[in-house]
Subunit: 320 residues, 4 copies
């Protein structure tokens, strides 16, 4: 009698196979042997999660070569019911690929997504000074264009490493981008769910609207974090879009909402801001624990509450 | 069979009868018909409370003519087991008194506490340009000196209004001080006791030591209040005394420790400071309610906590 | 004898003709009848300016549909010798176009840049629920794909308004994007040049690195602006890229570097930050003057300096 | 023919000879062999300076046993034309003196200023548990009372060290105060004069009124100092006196008005505050130099100005 198979989970990601987003998804242990659904953009990926078509979506959120980062931030700010559950870093490097048998001195026309092209242009200018750029819709589409259009005069394509596993191409050169240390930050997004336990090295993401557009409003917001010793790793203003001059802030804070200092900061932010969206507390990709001073650790919060309780019940008015 | 009389409460105050401190004590309804114990200085008054000799002590705490304000602040900072339970304001005005029958143009030598003399000197200089000042240990002692030393050449004394009820003197002139609106602030101090309920117009007094003597340490302390919308009505640095350059701060904040925003600010201060002394939450003498913005009232605190609870249990990650 | 013609100025922009960037360039009076050079991306546009190939470049800097905003911010942060000299807003709206004679109920396959597609998808889902999306490299490339590939099955393209002036297409529908009020912000960039005079409604752009990654470092930066009453209209953290966790900030401040309060804030920022790049002071696209309080206007700065001079020369130590 | 003698300078101080204030004046090299005028209180001392009767006055300004500290602060805040030119510290210790030949076991009644008595009471309680306190108007007056009133039953007096040089008394015990490290801070006050050169270890004193009584107003004031790295050594709120709830602040800042960071902070404070009184920049009594970070030293200020000049003239827009 056949066993009932475990239910398959579905993950949406910016496809097709071979993108940096796919590389991020490969870092998720739970996604192994599950269904991966390539989509055309961030909006589709998040729609899949909201509608239940997929269980989670991997999207680029910062410093992306695949583009669309502010689109992702705005989407998280405005689509209800989403939560970040993981963070992943993918080194951004590029290879030059061609049809098998092509030599580099035969390359004249190079297909590439414009951003990837910008990063690799210096390398190309040096080796093939008279080359021509043929823009492509994505890093993978550049390869598809190379192969599909053998008659169109494309000789090579700029693509992510590993592309040769998916397409019949040969790697002519590796590491051709200008900045060899570049990384893109991705987040895995699910529907709203109870927040997990802290891992000891976590991040908390928020969207916060300022009460109004006065000098100092942002400062007051940041003081809510600073007075609790909560460091920020991302802060970006985004126009709200209803009219110029109104902004929301995309914020990544060190720590987990189950850490006392982060919870207390969120309470302060919530009281202060006309609108706050909690986007999730999740393990940091870089595994770096927050540098918390003693005065901001959980014990300090407990000690302070004990002290206050003593005051309210009058047993001992002094605190050493 | 005789009734058991209600136990008498004892109040220490800077005496003798006739001082401004006594005038403050007359404002306390509970002190009527109880035992009043005049003492020589703030230290004695507070010792009486600590040792149980008295139930409470009235002491000047700000802008005092009777002197000793910083002494009072330092005493509250260092003597454990004390709590402020009330605040009282006494208008500071002075009268010129003399033995019955004296005319003002007969006045040459005026007994006065030096501070009182300073406040009334302009008046005396105008009416009696050639007068002489005979310093006295207190405003009431000046009158005692006038009467006791009839042979000593004192013709008049500067004293608080109402002194003629206690001594056989005649008032030659009223309102002779330079600033007719001056008031002194007094506090009633008891042993540590459970904090009462808010009256709607309260103050909370604290002594706070800074973590160290770096630029910005005080700023961080004040942000603990500002981020919760808690206004301060008194802030004074006092040298700690163990070595120059270390300071504690005497702080009066608007509101009651049972107000959410004040409790939250105290928790922040407690975590931040190496030493905090809670001196009490008590009704303000001026009955002016704190001007709290919506974002800092108790409802805002409850709403924020509800929101955080929702996040932790995962029912709804968004907040509008 | 022929007149010597005025030298032609050259402007680089994200091409081809028909992009939103071109629409921004059309707003520049000085660019009329000059040479316009379409380029493939922001990097090329700025390279043209640095190398002298062009006199100026128009690039999207915030909320762009054409993509590449963070790329533009990073480029301005790292390429020396550039300066922003103007700001322009372009409404972001889309039209659906097809080959002449096509009816909307014949549309099945729609070419579109993924971001544009995301913005117009709701409209398409309603009218053509079974349509297919064919990604294109840009909004204009979608139209080129439509026309070039008559045999490829593309029936329509999403494009910017006015595209019919450049291509032989027919507009099937206007205003098909979800947010009818969206705008993209562009800046005109030249080589470094003396800063112009204030227009009365200006912005100043900066790139600022924080001294280190401690809680409160950003707060201290923002206080440099707040204490001078300088409001910010853009604040975005960008990873510096040498290692994770180091950030630079892209800042737009209200006002002109020739305004006293802005100059003073810049001096404070310069002292505080290990690296500051001044990107320019230029007229705001929205013509909204900064809301300056009296204490932050130029007169207040002059009065304060006069007062300080008096102190140093000792003529009068008091200030009313 | 006789030489014209150098003109004599006159110094007012809280007398008579033997007070702690006199001890402070003895620390002033310029005051040696000049005329010393004892006065009864701070008001008289400052009046002497304003009217030209004296060239300077020594007054207690912090932690005073002689009393009147807040009176001194208020006087400096309200009397125009005064400037602090020096700061002096006097150890506060007490001796017990008696008429020659008296033994300590004969002492029953002790004359003492109430504050001095409070500090020495523990010592007396231990040695002479049944002693009585006879209040005196000042520490020196206690000795005068002892000697003048041989019939009045006073057996001993609490007095400052050195009193035996001025009166015919014998020292029964030294160092009888509770806190052997206590010091009082005095300032030497003259009429307004050009500010001197920095000594390298200076203080600057100010009186500042807040713009209004809102939460955060004080915070904004302190940010003016913090953003320039200027540390405060004294901060005290004082009621302005026109009505309750309005405060001025007495501020001592590290550094000299001729230091760039202090001058810049004063400019910021001046713009911010409705009323600022500059009270002087003068060498610190403790000779401790301000701990200035690199970003706040004079070079940093010059560098920043050079950078701004470059921007305005357009030679080089970048700063490393």
């Amino acid at each position: 009698m056949p066993e009932t198979p475990a239910p398959t989970r579905r993950y949406s990601y910016l496809g097709p196979a071979g993108t940096f987003t796919e590389a991020a998804l490969r870092q998720v242990p739970e996604a192994v042997d599950q269904e991966w659904k390539p989509v055309a953009n961030v909006g589709e990926a998040l729609s899949d999660v909201v509608s239940g078509v997929s269980d989670a979506a991997m999207i680029a959120i910062e410093n992306s070569i695949d583009g669309g980062v502010t689109v992702a931030q705005d989407a998280l700010a405005t689509i209800p019911g989403l939560q970040i559950i993981g963070e992943y870093l993918v080194p951004v490097s590029f290879v030059l690929v061609a049809r098998p048998g092509t030599r580099i001195d035969e390359v004249s026309v190079v297909a590439a997504h414009p951003v990837a092209y910008g990063q690799c242009r210096a390398w190309l200018d040096e080796r093939r000074p008279r080359h021509q750029h043929m823009p492509a819709a994505s890093n993978v589409q550049a390869v598809a264009d190379l192969l599909a259009a053998s008659g169109s005069g494309i000789d090579a394509a700029i693509a992510p490493p590993g592309i040769e596993r998916h397409y019949d191409v040969e790697v002519l050169a590796e590491g051709i981008a200008e900045n060899p240390d570049a990384v893109t930050r991705f987040v895995l997004v699910s529907r709203t769910t109870p927040v997990g336990e802290p891992s000891g090295a976590d991040k908390t993401s928020l969207i916060v609207e300022l009460p109004d557009d006065r000098a100092g409003a942002l400062l007051e917001l940041l003081e809510q974090f600073a007075t609790r010793g909560v460091n920020l790793t991302l802060l970006a203003s985004r126009p709200i879009g209803d009219r110029m001059g109104r902004y929301r802030f995309v914020i990544d804070a060190e720590g987990h909402v189950r850490d006392e200092r982060v919870a207390d900061a969120l309470l302060g932010v919530k009281r202060y801001s006309p609108r706050v969206v909690f986007l999730g507390s999740y393990p940091r990709a870089d595994r770096i624990a927050a540098t918390t001073h003693d005065v901001h650790d959980d014990d300090a919060f407990r000690d302070a509450r004990d002290w206050l309780r003593t005051i309210l019940t009058g047993q001992d008015a002094e605190a050493f």
